[in-house]
Symmetry: C2
Subunit: 201 residues, 2 copies
């Protein structure tokens, strides 16, 4: 037995969400249709609105429906410190760990020439222009401690080397091969405090 | 730090799904906005369409966008056997276990007088009319093996007692206090084969 075509389509559609297999997708579809139609309606409407309206902050490229995000607009952040991360989730993880009071720049990925992801795809032209403004004294390269994240950090370091900014990297303490998003706050906070000068070669 | 209002709303909206806490909701929102906008658009559209169009089969009350569901319309099922379940998920679990070739009736819940869920809320008027048609010889009361499921089965048994149908219950083998939806197919299949006459008192 299968459910009706539309109910089956609903189950299939839930599979787009991370970590959702066939059984979970079925449970979600049933729960929504049996008990949560108003909540489901709201979820669908918010998804459509977010897809339509949420873009990148013009200054830091984090996700926002505004032209410039709240954090870029805040007068209470240190303009001399810029932290470069691969994703908004990494940015959130660092914020929640506490301690860092500078600004951010979000790459939305890392360099991956084989997939056609070059410097401009991850906003490095915007990053260089930002550093060229002259306010930034230190750039913390907080890309993921993976091969691709390290390669991206090295590329950025070489790109920014002529601008006379200090470059640093999170202290190890963050596990090699892991993803920042899943590192606990304590580890992340300590790694931040122990950050090291970035050695380009 | 919080994300922008719309991104926060998206995270909150995902919490309507079963088993989705704040961290999972955040991961879903990020995944969708960063990597799966077409899939998210499709999910939202299918949710809206399903909420609008999916109702109850006029004959068995399972979820369907048609007036009468595929299983009720199938000429290959035994009209003399009717299995009463609490939910479409339970119906699916029994179908996937295999072995039962009769028809179904879906209550969408169980009697719960304190919550205002009476016999008509779970379609018992329709069920009685169906049995009164005279084709059904046996009704399998496959409500959940919980206090409420048992009470509902007893109520139905007494409602149908004057119609001269045989009443049966799933053999134990289904764990007490559990929910049919999560019982493995083998257990469920054996419980079906070993079903017992329903003792009303
Ligand atoms: Zn910003
Ligand atoms: Zn039906």
């Amino acid at each position: 037995m299968r459910f009706s075509p539309l109910v089956e389509q609903l189950m299939d559609a839930f599979r787009v969400l991370p970590g959702v297999g066939p059984k979970t997708a079925q449970r979600m579809a049933m729960h929504l249709l049996e008990r949560e139609r108003p909540g489901g309606q709201r979820l669908a409407e918010v998804i459509l609105q977010a897809i339509e309206e949420v873009g990148y902050c013009q200054r830091c490229r984090t996700l926002t429906e505004a032209e410039v995000c709240m954090l870029c607009e805040s007068p209470r952040r240190d303009d001399s410190l810029l932290c470069v991360v691969e994703s908004p989730a990494d940015q959130l993880a660092i914020e929640e760990a506490g301690g860092f009071k500078g600004r951010y720049f979000v790459l939305h990925g890392h360099l991956s020439p084989l997939d056609g992801v070059g410097p401009e795809s991850i906003g490095l032209d915007l990053l260089e222009a930002r550093v060229a403004e002259g306010l930034i004294e230190e750039v913390v390269l907080a890309t993921n401690p993976t091969i691709e994240g390290e390669a991206t950090a090295h590329y950025i370091a070489s790109l920014l080397s002529e601008h006379g900014v200090k470059l640093s990297r999170l202290a190890y303490g963050v596990p090699m091969g892991g993803e920042l998003e899943y590192v606990d706050g304590g580890t992340l906070s300590r790694a931040f405090n122990g950050r090291l000068p970035f050695a380009s070669e």
